[in-house]
């Protein structure tokens, strides 16, 4: 059977082959990984060009097509997610080169690359597939790879966290699978196009419920977040960056897609989701305020941010999701970039100072200035201060909420913002206080190469805000959610 090489297939299979290769020859793992990533990025760019020129693209694999065959489809949203993935992935990989160069980290070096490429395969697959069974397979792949990355550091805490994560994500996947089963019983087909014009019957609704809960579990939406902080906090820096920046987003993306194609959601369910999001914002904020370690704080802030994204998703006024999904998408992108930068920076700080206990940050005479600066920039985007992309997302969210008179979501957003200010300012205080240092403070020496990648990410998180207009117009290619009437 003739398979015409298309960007989409490359985007999925290049990482896959890369993973296999990297697994087979661990010596060259890093090289292979970087090359694979570079190629994938190239493919994504190619795809983006294609989509930019000629709208949404559909590729029936093996020419069978839906409902049986496997289709790949790319529109503005999915390409944006792909771009996020490969951009963040590339930079994280670069910094991984530095982060994993330690003597005791040979095992990590050996397994990081295959796992990460496998993860990339899964993620790209999620963004491109058009039927829910595919999605199931992909999230399982993601789950396995992600768990692998979590336990990479091999410490007991990491393994424990990884195991919890494993249980959660497999359970989530299985719930999803059950949903898939119901859908098939109901419709006899699994592709989005089939779902789109389905009647909301009991079985379908059960399917929706199962799938949504499964995904909420995988994306750690409050109160299903119990596994996330430990997992993200105990992984090595690049792993945490990937997990928090990209993996969580895959599940979010699926939720968006389901919301697009399913007879779903009703106003009431949206409100429920919004309430869960609000709960996440508050609870995540509180926990971040109490967190004692830097990475734990960052992990909890992830919980809060995801909650915010769901709030954005839930503030669909009478327009339905036609408008609100944009705010969600913007926030997803913003959080992806910024959080990756933040985790990398946190890792750098931890490596430099030797610990990441927030209370004692200001006791150390060593001040990794650039890493701290990066952290601050990322924080600016996460708090949502202008002109960062996070600000734009928050703007879109609040504007929509106001326009449709949903003041409670506005309030939630503002509270969340204030809390994020509070918990990040704890860290800043640690960076900028000097009177508890015994030894003379080492003065900062210009740039350090290891900080380049996170710094770039952080600057991107800020700067993309000024490019919000083109980003939005790109997202709208193929009107993922139709156009406003």
């Amino acid at each position: 059977m003739s398979v015409d090489i298309s960007a989409m297939m490359l985007a999925i299979f290049l990482p896959l082959f890369g993973a296999i290769a990297a697994f087979l020859l661990p010596r060259a793992a890093a090289l292979i990984g970087l090359v694979a990533l570079a190629l994938t990025t190239g493919a994504v760019i190619w795809l983006a060009r294609e989509v930019w020129q000629s709208g949404a693209v559909i590729l029936p694999l093996g020419g069978w097509g839906a409902p049986l065959g496997i289709d790949l489809r790319a529109d503005g949203l999915s390409v944006a997610m792909l771009a996020l993935t490969s951009a963040v992935g590339l930079l994280v990989s670069v910094s991984a080169l530095d982060a994993l160069k330690g003597a005791g980290q040979s095992r990590q070096r050996q397994y990081f690359w295959p796992l990460w490429l496998l993860l990339l395969t899964g993620i790209n697959g999620v963004y491109l597939s058009t039927d829910i069974f595919n999605l199931y397979v992909m999230i399982e792949v993601i789950a396995l790879a992600a768990v692998g990355l979590t336990v990479l550091s091999g410490t007991r805490a990491a393994v424990q966290a990884g195991l919890e994560y494993m249980y959660a994500s497999i359970l989530g996947a299985l719930l999803f699978l059950m949903g898939v089963g119901f859908v098939y019983l109901q419709l006899g087909r699994l592709d989005f196009a089939g779902l789109m014009d389905a009647e909301p019957t009991g079985a379908l609704i059960a399917a929706v419920a199962l799938m949504f809960v499964g995904l909420a579990l995988k994306t750690a939406l409050f109160p299903l977040h119990f596994w996330l902080p430990a997992a993200h906090a105990n992984a090595t820096a690049p792993a945490s960056a990937l997990l928090s920046g990209l993996v969580v987003k895959a599940a979010l993306y699926i939720v968006l897609r389901l919301a697009q194609y399913m007879p779903f959601p009703s106003e009431a369910l949206l409100t429920l989701v919004g309430m869960m999001g609000a709960g996440a914002v508050i609870w995540g904020g509180i926990q971040a305020l109490r967190a004692e370690r830097l990475k734990l704080l960052v992990a909890w802030s992830t919980v809060a941010q995801i909650g915010l994204i769901f709030v954005a998703f839930a503030r669909a006024g009478e327009l339905g999701l036609t408008e609100s999904w944009k705010a969600a998408a913007l926030l997803i992108l913003a959080h992806g970039v910024a959080k990756a930068a933040m985790f990398l920076a946190a890792g750098r700080i931890k490596d430099e100072i030797g610990h990441d206990v927030i209370r004692d940050l200001d006791r150390s005479p060593i001040r990794p200035t650039l890493a701290q600066f990066t952290f601050a920039l990322a924080a600016i985007s996460l708090i949502g201060l202008p002109p960062s992309l996070g600000f734009i997302g928050k703007w879109a969210l609040m504007e929509g909420a106001m326009a449709s008179g949903y003041w409670h979501w506005v309030v939630v957003t503002m509270v969340g913002t204030l809390m994020s200010v509070a918990y990040f300012s704890r860290v800043f205080a640690g960076f900028l206080r000097f009177d508890r240092v015994r030894a003379p403070v080492g003065e900062h020496q210009g740039w350090a190469l290891a900080d380049a990648a996170p710094l770039t990410l952080a600057f991107a998180a800020i700067g993309l805000g000024l490019m919000a207009a083109p980003i939005l117009s790109f997202l709208e290619i193929g009107y993922p959610f139709g156009v406003a009437p």
Partner: protein, 495 residues
């Protein structure tokens, strides 16, 4: 290039680009850093002079860039903007000189100067923003850029002050975001247009408009240190002297006052604001702040705290002048924007010199410092007398116009207010001068008769003091602040 449309952008970039470079410089490269600082500052002054010439000739500068559909990042250079830019540019130059001298051997100079110029960039941005959205952008940037300066000393007290500062200002910023969104939803635009953009919306939905006014003024009032929201200012004076000088004279406080101007004149429009019945309460609030600040100032023994509270009171003159809704009062307010800046920066730099040269930090220690540091104290005295409002110093001019405006607006109480506040100013400044000049106390017994402070510390306050004298004495000369404010007020009120 005789007429550069990008001129405002260049002015912004002079300091915006300077800051990353300064960050990157290693701690040792002091000379290079100073060179960049001064060079950029001087360049900026020149560009601003050019720009103001152009604007005076009637050239319109308007740079736009769409961020979200319909939502623009917009820089404009109208006379009002020029007023503020000129102030910040000139004072930036002076303060840079001063802080180079002040921090000669201090730690973290790279960080300091990086954020310092970032802070000025933000100020310039605030001045030139053409709509509330852009304003918000730079307003937040200003907050972030000043935070590290406030806590520069890096000790527990500084950090506490910094936290207070951050909470107040970021909360204010958040409320401003809310207000901006509200404006965007209500009026469909956030542009600054002389005469306001809300006339119709206010007519249709006065309640919402009033609410919006309260939200916006509340948000800006945090930085402008209006009465209930002023608490951060006196605390923030733990910052190093040049920072306090900048904070109080140019950057933060003035940003708030400037924002209030923009909001009242160009978002609501003075008529609309009056029609909504919001100006009178604002004026009353300003009045309360003026008196309250002065009263608190009397009770302070720490020099900088006293100056800080005096700022709380003095800045509200600007709000008052705006809220009186009379052209003449507006002239007074705008002039005070400049004059208060000059006077207050002088006083803070002088206070810094006292602390540096004699270790004098409290009013009660000021006995005889006049003889120990004549130049500095002369500058201080000039500024203080200006604050009290003695002719021909700058403070007199603005107070005079405010009083006239009050009469014009038929608000007799303003006179009483001004007299009262002048009296209070006298009550808390004259004792300082008395101690400084007419008492020979422990100060010169303990410290050397003539402490050695470099010219970089000595010259700036004297310069600004001279400026105070000039701004007052030649108030009617062309291109004097007063003349320029008249120019602005014509625009704002003829719309």
């Amino acid at each position: 290039m005789m007429d550069a449309p990008l001129l405002p952008l260049f002015i912004l970039l002079t300091s915006l680009l300077a800051s990353p470079v300064l960050f990157a410089l290693p701690e040792r490269a002091a000379r290079l850093r100073t060179a960049i600082n001064l060079g950029m500052a001087a360049l900026k002054v020149m560009l601003v002079a050019w720009l103001s010439l152009k604007v005076a000739q009637g050239v319109i500068y308007d740079l736009r860039f769409e961020v979200l559909p319909g939502l623009e990042f917009k820089l404009q250079a109208d006379p009002l903007a020029i007023l503020f830019i000129a102030l910040s540019a000139v004072l930036w130059l002076i303060t840079t000189v001063y802080s180079v001298g002040y921090l000669e051997h201090g730690p973290h100079r790279a960080r300091f100067f990086g954020f310092f110029s970032l802070c000025v960039a933000a100020t310039v941005g605030i001045a030139m923003s053409g709509n509330l959205f852009t304003f918000l952008l730079f307003y937040e940037l200003l907050t972030l850029a000043t935070y590290p300066l406030v806590i520069h000393c890096g000790n527990a007290e500084a950090l506490r002050a910094g936290r207070t500062y951050l909470i107040y200002t970021l909360a204010g910023g958040l409320v401003l975001l809310l207000g901006t969104l509200g404006l965007w939803v209500l009026a469909g635009t956030t542009d600054f247009v002389p005469g306001g953009v809300l006339t119709d919306a206010a007519a249709q939905n006065p309640l919402a408009a009033q609410l919006l006014f309260v939200v916006l003024i509340g948000a800006l009032g945090v930085k402008a240190a209006l009465f209930p929201l002023h608490a951060w200012l006196p605390i923030a004076m733990v910052a190093p002297a040049p920072v306090s000088a900048l904070l109080h004279a140019v950057a933060v406080v003035k940003a708030g006052a400037f924002g209030i101007m923009r909001v009242v004149y160009e978002v609501f429009g003075i008529e609309t604001a009056q029609a909504l019945g919001m100006t009178a309460p604002l004026a009353a609030l300003a009045g309360v702040t003026i008196i309250y600040g002065s009263l608190k100032a009397i009770t302070q023994d720490d020099i900088k705290k006293r100056l800080a509270y005096s700022t709380v009171s003095q800045v509200s003159y600007i709000t008052l002048g705006v809220a009186l809704a009379s052209p003449i009062a507006a002239v007074g307010a705008l002039a005070h924007l400049i004059h208060q800046g000059l006077m207050k920066i002088t006083m803070f730099m002088a206070a810094g010199n006292l602390a540096e040269g004699l270790g004098v930090k409290k009013v009660s220690q000021m006995d005889g410092v006049g003889r120990a540091m004549p130049g500095t104290m002369l500058a201080f005295s000039l500024a203080a007398l200006g604050m009290i409002g003695l002719p021909p110093l700058a403070g007199f001019v603005s107070k005079w116009y405010l009083a006239q405006g009050g009469l014009e607006a038929g608000q007799g109480w303003v006179i009483a207010l001004l007299l009262g506040s002048s009296l209070l100013n006298a009550v808390y400044f004259l004792p300082m001068l008395h101690r400084a000049w007419f008492r020979d106390g422990a100060a010169d017994a303990g410290a050397p008769a003539r402490p050695r402070i470099g010219w970089m510390l000595a010259a700036p306050p004297v310069t600004t003091a001279v400026l105070v004298l000039v701004a007052g004495g030649f108030a009617n000369a062309p291109f004097s602040p007063l003349e320029w404010t008249r120019f602005i007020v014509d625009i704002e009120y003829l719309e």
